[in-house]
Amino acid sequence: MYSIGIDTGSVATKGVLFDGNIVDNVILPTGWSPKNASKEVFNKLLERNNISEVDIKRIIGTGYGRISMDFADKAITEITCHAKGAYYLNSNIRTILDIGGQDSKVISLDEKGNIIDFVMNDKCAAGTGKFLEVTLNNLGIDVNEIDDLVKDNKPMDISSMCTVFAESEIVSLLAKGGNKGEIASGILYSIAKKSSSLLNRVSIREKIAFTGGVAKSKELKRILKDKLNKDIFTSDNTQIIGALGAAVIGWNLK
């Protein structure tokens, strides 16, 4: 028997096949139809592992497209799934900082992996993946290059948290001949600042997990670690954590 968790986000749709352990995972672009994307991920998981629908005991949908997944047994929010997924990867985790494309959130867990508290940033792109994307665009560099660019550079002060104002701030720094590495470093510091103020809205307990696409930046992880003065756990599986949590929940459902 297996369970499947599918996380349909605005950019990518992720699926995890689970039997008590992670068996397989699939990531596809969501495209224009979250419904089709999630079905496709589902089919691919079955196909690749040579199994059929009768072998699946539960399908759980999550992410913003969860409501359109009519073949799922249950829809559960990404917040709950995220918590379950991170806890599955490391059961010492008590606080999760997740910086996604559109929003960022902090989740606080108990020793059994249940959510005690959570906060999200309010309808604002400050400190999210979007902020990074837009501001890096001004520098003409890609998210994947940021670590190399930032390395050993002192951060330049970017005082605006607001994406729109930060953009113009960066443009004028560039016009004054500012160094790209220093500006990029400043951008990461700005995200770290916003994230730690979000973290401070719950009681931070160790261990802390840092997830979401932005967590791929080792430099940002280092800055956060220095700022909080605490160890931070990241995982290579960061993209599939929501789908993994959904699969774990499905597996545990009676």
């Binding site: 249940n114 959570f118 309010d122």
Partner: protein, 430 residues
Amino acid sequence: MADYKELWKSLDIDLEKHDELCEVLPEFYGDIYMTQKNRPEGMNYYNFVVSEIHGFRIKELNEFRGKGGKVFGGFCVFVPDEVTLAAGGVGIGLCGGSDFWVPDGEKVLPRNMCPLIKASVGAKIGGTCPYFQSADMLVGETTCDGKKKAWEILGEYTPIHVMDLPQMKREKDIENFKDEINIFREKVESITGNKVTAENLKENIKLVNKKRKVLQRLYNARKVQNLPISGKDALLISQIAFYDDIERFIEKTNELCDELEARIEKNISVFDEDTPRILITGTPMAIPNWKMHHLIETSGGAVVCEETCTGTKYFERFVDEDNDDLDSQLKALSERYMGINCACFSPNEGRIKDIIRLYKEYNADGVVYNSLPFCHTYAVEYKKVKDALDKEGIPVMMIESDYSMQDAGQIKTRLEAFFEMLNMNKELAL
């Protein structure tokens, strides 16, 4: 709705703009209210009141004024209706709960201000609210800074009397507010031309207490496991209590309560058995602001109580009825009203106690702390409330939101996650 054009014209309403409002409201109400399943029969009265919101009641008020009666418009639960009624006047609540009025409010007020104030001021200066137009005098109070200063602007458009509400709750503050009520009495007397006597005040203290009792009866029906009425419907009734004819309101709401109590006996519920029960606390929800209740009850939760001005703050605790002289009556009024735990007071420990008590009384599973943007008093007070609730092990979530529906999707996700968390807590407790 019958044709009220002539009536509106006589009240100096901006008819064209007003039509826009009349166009959207029925659909808005229909989407939010008429889609509910298994509603109590008795809700038909309140459906009627809303469908005639700018008609029937306005006509009544107009007739009353035609006979020399005076109407007083208030914004806050501190204005003592007992005094108004004793002088033969009628008090109505005037808070603005819709985005519709905000742009007009922003013509004279800064943008970064609580939408309740902007909407209330906008409704007056845009001439689109017949209730404002029916008021012979507005009654403001010195509660939060935003309101305090807004009265000065509103005063340019219409006569307004401002009551000085103390900001603390010491013995001398209660004395002071008693004086304020007395000044208000003189004001009301001078406008209506009628004297407030110990006899008629006593009678009206009893009458307003009766209204409080029926609201308490309604809320008692929400304490049971099988909820006979939705939170949305209960909120609507609280909102209507602010401006409906008091005797009729008491009668109709008692009828509804009979039905609800019969439902309780037969275990008829409007929600599934294990729907998470939510206590709402925070800023007032003026009609037609049904946003948070709607989002909660379409995301898998049920609202069981409102610790707000359009909830328990309005009706809990009675005015002592056993006084026969004006002085003791005014004192009793001051004591009742100064017992309201509004965030405008400092300190305001009573509110925290209320929240914990109501959480238990209504068997709630979690608390949603709802605040309008730019409301400093309620936003600041969140920390103290959250700390106290954490200590009690009561889950709470803060949602700051205005009247627009732009953030509805995100709020729904947060609510769903909150309910998932509450459900898991429940499972663990089993």
